[in-house]
Amino acid sequence: MREGLVSFKGINGGIYINIKDGEFNTILKELENKLEKSIDFFKDAKIIGIKGDSITKEEKNELLNVIKYKYELNITEDLESHFKEDIFEGIEEGMTRFINSTIRSGQVVEYEGNIVIIGDVNPGALIKARGNIVILGSLKGVAHAGVDGNTQAFIAAYDLRPTQLRICSIISRKPDGNMDFIGIPEVARVYNKEIIIEPYLPRK
């Protein structure tokens, strides 16, 4: 029997149940085992919902019923709004990290808000932000903005020639062939689930 399909994860003052891909009966057995083992803990816990990308609606309901009626636990089912709360919203005004140096191949810069780099980002470097990424220099590495779900996050650079751009879960790579410096700063944003690159101001 495969263990580990059912796990409990904390989020903003509550717990949700995370279900991985697997056979439903195994999942059900595992959930019941875990609930029984720590029933006292779960009686007091605030269970917010069930998250499982591979279970069907009916299966989800069956699990919910087991939790509510067999084990008599409280479950509020407002998982969606909790997840929304976790996404970084400060892309117009929010916490920002400033770095004044070149980021080299193999280095990773991560931050829970926006990132501004005054310097170049060399190929092989990775910048990850929950918010926006602004590079006052050449972006030749990989930049990943809106890491936890904010599709409005943008990536801007003085010289935008990245190996790859990622906003949220959308990935885009530069066109094949050598790109020369365009000459003006550019901004990458998501429109219609695609990453589009525009000049930094509309009329440039």
Partner: protein
């Protein structure tokens, strides 16, 4: 009591000219009258002894010294061609786990008592051998060729050196073929310096004389005619604090003015 400056020659990428550069800078500085020891830390794949033409004289090596099987003096090989020039060879029958960084630090501090310059030849890569070679170094010179893969690796290594506390490494660009640069088929000096963003110490043209001198075991820097020899002598002069214009590979004399600004700006 020597000046005691320990410089590691490293690159990340293999085959770009670290060992050749170590041998030629070491010999070049000795030609100026300084006490120099060149140290090979590429344990298991030693080459510095061959390039220096001293392999027949090896009895003890760096592992013997560090393990205490012999005294430091016994491990050092005196180069009879130049006063004050010594080699501490690597071991060939062991591998890079035979030495720890702490042992290197101790060894280098002992060497600093006897020598003005300690030039440390680093192996390729970023693992144990590399870590050993930089332990105890005061400064680093990064060698790269004008090829995108070498520059990528050099960038990685510069980042690692910064993390290990060796800042302001200097750059040596090796094996430049001016005809290819002119045609646009090879990266030029400015592009490389722009990406790596460190001070340029010197450039060395691709030169048949290096192949010949390596096979003979006689570092090219001592010869008068080859352009690469001149390039290495220029680098040695810059290390000693003298201002020397970069070789103009087109006309064999002169200027690349933007690069000069980079070179002399501090």
């Amino acid at each position: 009591m020597g000046i005691g400056k320990a410089i590691v020659i490293t690159s990340g990428k293999g085959g770009v000219g670290k060992t050749t550069t170590t041998a030629n800078i070491g010999t070049g500085l000795a030609m100026h009258g300084y006490n120099v020891v060149v140290v090979d830390t590429d344990i298991g794949l030693r080459n510095l002894d061959v390039v220096m033409g001293l392999e027949n004289r090896i009895v003890y090596d760096i592992v013997d010294v560090v393990d205490g099987n012999c005294r430091l003096k016994q491990g050092l090989i005196r180069d009879k061609r130049f006063d004050g020039l010594y080699l501490l060879p690597a071991a060939q029958t062991k591998d890079k786990t035979a030495i720890k960084p702490e042992q290197m630090v101790e060894l280098v501090s002992k060497l600093k008592e006897e020598f003005d310059y300690i030039i440390i030849d680093s192996p390729a890569g970023i693992e144990q051998g590399f870590k050993n070679s930089i332990a105890g170094a005061d400064e680093a010179y990064i060698v790269t060729t004008p090829e995108i893969s070498a520059v990528r690796d050099a960038d990685r290594v510069i980042g690692l050196l910064e993390a290990y506390g060796i800042s302001n490494p200097k750059l040596i660009i090796n094996r430049i073929r001016y005809d290819m640069v002119k045609r646009g088929d090879m990266m030029n000096v400015e592009d490389i310096v722009d990406i790596l963003a460190i001070d340029l110490l010197g450039i060395i043209p691709d030169d048949e004389a290096i192949v010949i001198s390596t096979n003979k075991g006689e570092p090219v820097v001592a010869e008068e005619k080859p352009l690469s020899a001149k390039a290495y002598r220029n680098i040695c002069n810059r290390i000693l604090g003298k201002e020397v214009e970069l070789l103009d590979l087109e006309n064999n004399e002169g200027k690349l003015s933007k690069i000069l600004k980079l070179l002399f700006s501090k």
